[in-house]
Symmetry: D2
Subunit: 400 residues, 4 copies
């Protein structure tokens, strides 16, 4: 994440996926582990309390941990060492008890993802409602439908917005359906150091963190990570589709819509750029790149590389998905629709297809040759309106 992220990703989300947030989440995992083990009787309650006491991010320095992480290939090992040093005494021996670095990093990834998803879903909710409002308001506003960017037949602006709405609802459903699960398997997924307590600790650990309890440790089964990446890619892709539509409809020659906060040019006084839509598309491209890293095979009980690549790919996918959805929410909430331009842009020939259906292709060709007269396009909008109503009904159904 860099220039674009600092411009397009909301500050709250950048923070939620920051290295500091990962550090806190790793400490949350260590604390939950100690608590779960204490509840299960696997470690002394006093040790758990002593450990919890030191699981505060302000006690540790990320750059130092990262520096040390170079030698071992992950940030959890130095954190565990630092945590042990901070806890001290006998309790130190119970830090990270039975766990492996991947348990902590994967669980942290899930916690970071949960917080980030809340923010992404918040933006998506806003976008959904704004699209619904546009669909409702413009249910009957005549507009030219365009296929392959050629004017095709009459439609309503509301039906276009309804299309956005349905796609946003589907994307939201996808994100809501992702199950985030705790990770705890010990060195290689057996949890052997916990012996007979293994199952109970896993269950308590997941409960402490309010994450799902997986059937098995998933050190080398990354289906849930791939699905998360896929759902983020879909959500960002929907934002990009809406952004693309808005950019096209905002063209100087069309002028059918404008972003409320259209951006100024550094040199051209007359320009009003569709900035939000542009940022949504840019973010979506980056989500796609990051999500593409989140699938693939992890060898045996822990992958040498494919796992490590996930950390930053997931971080990026979450952040830019938030950038895309935040941008498109802003676009939709402030979208200015110029009904006059919409109507004025509709070419007479938009009803040529309808003529062909009603009077035959020959007649349509005659009219095209003669330049008309064509029927009024607004007489053919009933089915579009009916589709808008279907989309709005779906939206109502999916409100909380």
């Amino acid at each position: 994440m860099s220039i674009l992220a600092s411009i397009a990703v909301p500050a709250e989300l950048r923070e939620a996926v920051s290295e500091q947030a990962w550090l806190e989440a790793m400490l949350d995992a260590e604390r939950a582990l100690a608590n779960a083990e204490s509840l299960a009787g696997a470690i002394p309650a006093a040790a758990a309390a002593a450990i919890a006491e030191q699981c505060r991010a302000e006690l540790y320095d990320w750059s130092e941990l990262a520096e040390q992480g170079r030698a071992v290939g992950n940030p959890a090992e130095p954190l565990v060492r630092a945590l042990r040093a901070a806890v001290g005494g006998e309790a130190a021996g119970y830090v990270h008890f039975g766990a492996t670095s991947q348990d902590i990093v994967d669980t942290a990834a899930m916690l970071v993802a949960r917080r980030a998803l809340e923010l992404v879903l918040g933006q998506l909710d806003g976008a959904v409602d704004a699209a619904a409002e546009l669909a409702r308001r413009h249910r009957s506003t005549p507009a030219a439908a365009r296929t392959l960017l050629q004017q095709a037949v009459p439609t309503t602006f509301g039906l276009r917005a309804a299309g956005w709405l349905v796609a946003l609802l589907e994307a939201r459903r996808g994100l809501r359906g992702i199950e985030l699960a705790a990770q705890l398997g010990g060195a290689a997924g057996t949890l052997a150091p916990l012996g007979d307590d293994a199952a109970e600790v896993l269950s308590l650990y997941a409960a402490e963190l309010d994450l799902a309890e997986p059937a098995l440790p998933w050190h080398a089964n990354r289906v849930r990570v791939a699905q998360l990446g896929g759902a983020l890619d879909v959500a960002a892709g929907v934002a990009a589709k809406i952004g693309l539509d808005v950019i096209l409809l905002s063209q100087t020659e069309l002028g059918e819509v404008a972003e409320a906060d259209g951006g100024a040019s550094s040199t051209m006084p007359q320009k009003r750029n569709p900035v939000g839509s542009t940022l949504a598309r840019a973010c979506a491209l980056l989500v796609h790149g990051h999500a593409s890293v989140l699938t693939g095979a992890h060898e045996l009980e822990r992958a040498a590389g494919a796992w490590h690549a996930e950390w930053d790919a997931l971080t990026g996918a979450l952040a830019y998905a938030g950038g895309a959805t935040a941008a498109i929410r802003g676009v939709l909430e402030g979208l200015e629709v110029d009904e006059e331009r919409l109507r004025a842009n509709m070419s007479d020939e938009l009803t040529a297809e309808q003529v062909a259906y009603e009077l035959g292709r020959e007649r349509a060709d005659e009219l095209l040759a003669a330049g008309g007269p064509f029927p009024d396009p607004t007489t053919y909008l009933g089915s579009a309106e009916a589709f808008v109503d279907r989309a709005l009904a779906l939206w109502e159904d999916e409100r909380d």
Copy 2:
């Protein structure tokens, strides 16, 4: 699809996604459209019957249609013309009534996908059951777990297989969850030519084809296509993970498993290559490439390019996903597990971690320096066995 496809993708699946299969599916869509419109009273029953009569693939020549499709950019337009010519008379005017090329091609894509998914899921079912059988049979078979390809701690071969099983179950759930929907929107998603019959025709059309009825035409909302691509990518990725594991465990130096049909080398008499696993991995790479094409923004009411790219990307994703799952099913069903080699390969030091937990890290380091004696690794397998049981319970739950 080319060399690899002809080797690795089952013939039945290659046929199911062939150009001929697409042609048949397009004709199925036209027939269903006519029937639906006839039932709704939008066109005469006799016309529907006459149309249905000509919706047989053997009447048309794919290469000719493709040749003509060059000028219009899709194969449906020439097919509609050919179909009209075949139907003749007044009924010809009712061919493709109210529909657009994309309605036919998208619906055909869903039909092709359905048939292909049946075959992919069939392979996946076989792989699931074979993995379950391996997990059950080797629930307690001692093995060395390996992380970053270093021996780590003792596990059981059954737990490794249980990991495969759970990933396969998740991949199957993902594919089963995909909703395939009919496409019918007319020129640009309004279905205006059908007027008040629009909703009814859409509903009947979907029912005729046994596809889901979408809330709206989805000409430019490709969420379902992206999700299908994602689910295929996940499934192929799981196959690749299993293949990678099998290849690693089949290494000359490990010899813990062998594919039943290990392939001969063209020149090296002693070799027995893990061919099935290799093909699974290769196919999965191609699924990933194809699936990456299936996301992205489609502009306004029909995309000029992004839509057209889907046809071959979806075809490829389906075919290679079938190649990957078929190969891995074969691998799992015939996997030879050498329990002696598994046991012999386990290094004494595998229990060093356990020593560290029980007697302290210092003691473990002493033993490492002295070269042992370490405890018997097979005394720490209880938790692994318990995890196997959890996976098998999940499997039982998800049987039909």
Copy 3:
């Protein structure tokens, strides 16, 4: 390759990358190997002659070879067996002497790529010249430049075409710079069976095939394959950029250009779709997906999967790159440029920036508020014309 390929990829190119073409290329490799070995004295001349005699594709059946290839994971092994059977006698023992399957398949890939590249470059040459002609003809044709799809400042249509030209030249340079090398390393890159003849045979083999002689066998060093994929992706990307521009400029509301063979709609009589540009974009998306498979790590002396995935990914990248360049060549060669629409579309405000530079931003804002009068945009085209001349000079330089 499927529906889109049969529509968009020229028949000659589809043939050049077909399974039959691969088969022929594999036989070419076997023949060249025998010849080279005979010249080096490593095998009897009579054996080489007998082998060459049987290296004719019509003697073998691809589907049969593919079927048998399933068991060994590649098509070369069964071909070698079939070739040995066809040669018979003592000479049979000299078939494929010292080589491995990968030698034959990789060399075939290079031969297939060479033939396909010729065709792709042929299309690219045509596109280059057509773009140059457009740049020349419209060197001074006024047009509105558009950034973020908003009218920005005056330009000339020739400068836009010059931009296409330069990008096409760069893409062509990239493809021309790809070195296609023979592959011959034996079982694992040592060529040991050829002993002291190894270097000479390698050199003669490359010369026979008119391919570059590599420093080492490149069984697991796939840089050249990745670079080929990258160069194809770049070329297709340039075609897609031109296609996107043409689609945008062809919009009903702009009408500045039109494809000569604009496609009819299946139902809308008035439409004229930018079909060539659409196909170019679609093909480019598929090239991108295929090229993404052509990079990555190949393990030790031969990859178990990553290599096998290359076959179809390379085939697809070549084919669709040809589809993209052929389509865009057609678009450029027949592009109709409507100078009147170009001029009419130019908004008065296009010179606002120039006013701001010459008279200050305040004055520009005043004019914008007052609605003009703005200076004539055609008075600021000198620098655009000069840039066109630079591009044309570059084009002249790179003519053969």
Copy 4:
């Protein structure tokens, strides 16, 4: 960039691609522009001096600029405003004269890329020399070649290292061949505000920055960016290949090599993880994801989104390519090669192919059935050694 970047990307490189580095590079571009314009007589020398005076990064706050950049969609516009305010007076009017935001951001991208490439190439140089040293030292060290991870035939460890060397040389050649060009086109590529000075200013500007002078402004021609991404992907891919080989050869059961700084496990005392190789592979996966964003079509004179996505994709590709090459350099420089294990691991059957060639396949099969005796594998290494010499000669040729 996040967790992995902070662990694996050298601090110097992280700095070189940081937001601060981008800010400095943007100011460098503004300074060079003013200087070039002053030299060309387009703006007063005093203004250029005043501007240069304020082109110091410490005068500006990145987060503030980023915050303001949200509204306009890029960081250059607020920077220009801040720079104008800092310069003040009449000279302020000459800040950014004739340029557009993209000129500054693209030029900055090239400057950032140049500095980062220096660092990447530095790492690559080290890796090249270390691979050459391994090839030289182990020219004749016997080893088992492995294909599809099965032991195949005898080779030398030096030949494997020579394979790495040649791939590294090719990757280096690719990166060295990238031309970084200045960007200066004004609002939409015409440079009209500079009138007759346009060409001279462009030339002087490029010279000031020591960047190549492009034929045309390349606002929407991204071939060079795609090629840069491709070359970084190739370089990282080579690092990943070496890493993968090292990980495989480091397996507990093989033990043929070990990283000098093999990493400790957080819990398993006996483990020594191939950390450098693991990080190289992880970084390479991220380069691939980022590079995939760097191709594609940019519409008309400036893309609404595709351009903006490049900033972070390029940053990431550069950073992780540096991470991959730095890691693999460390691996190669410190690689411990265990000649005894190499020899001990060689199975007797490695010469079965050679037997087949010399005495016939039947005899080879007999020996395999009888378990030997096979010829000594070290008698067949001459051709491998000769190949090593070829690689080393190539290396010598390409030394500066």
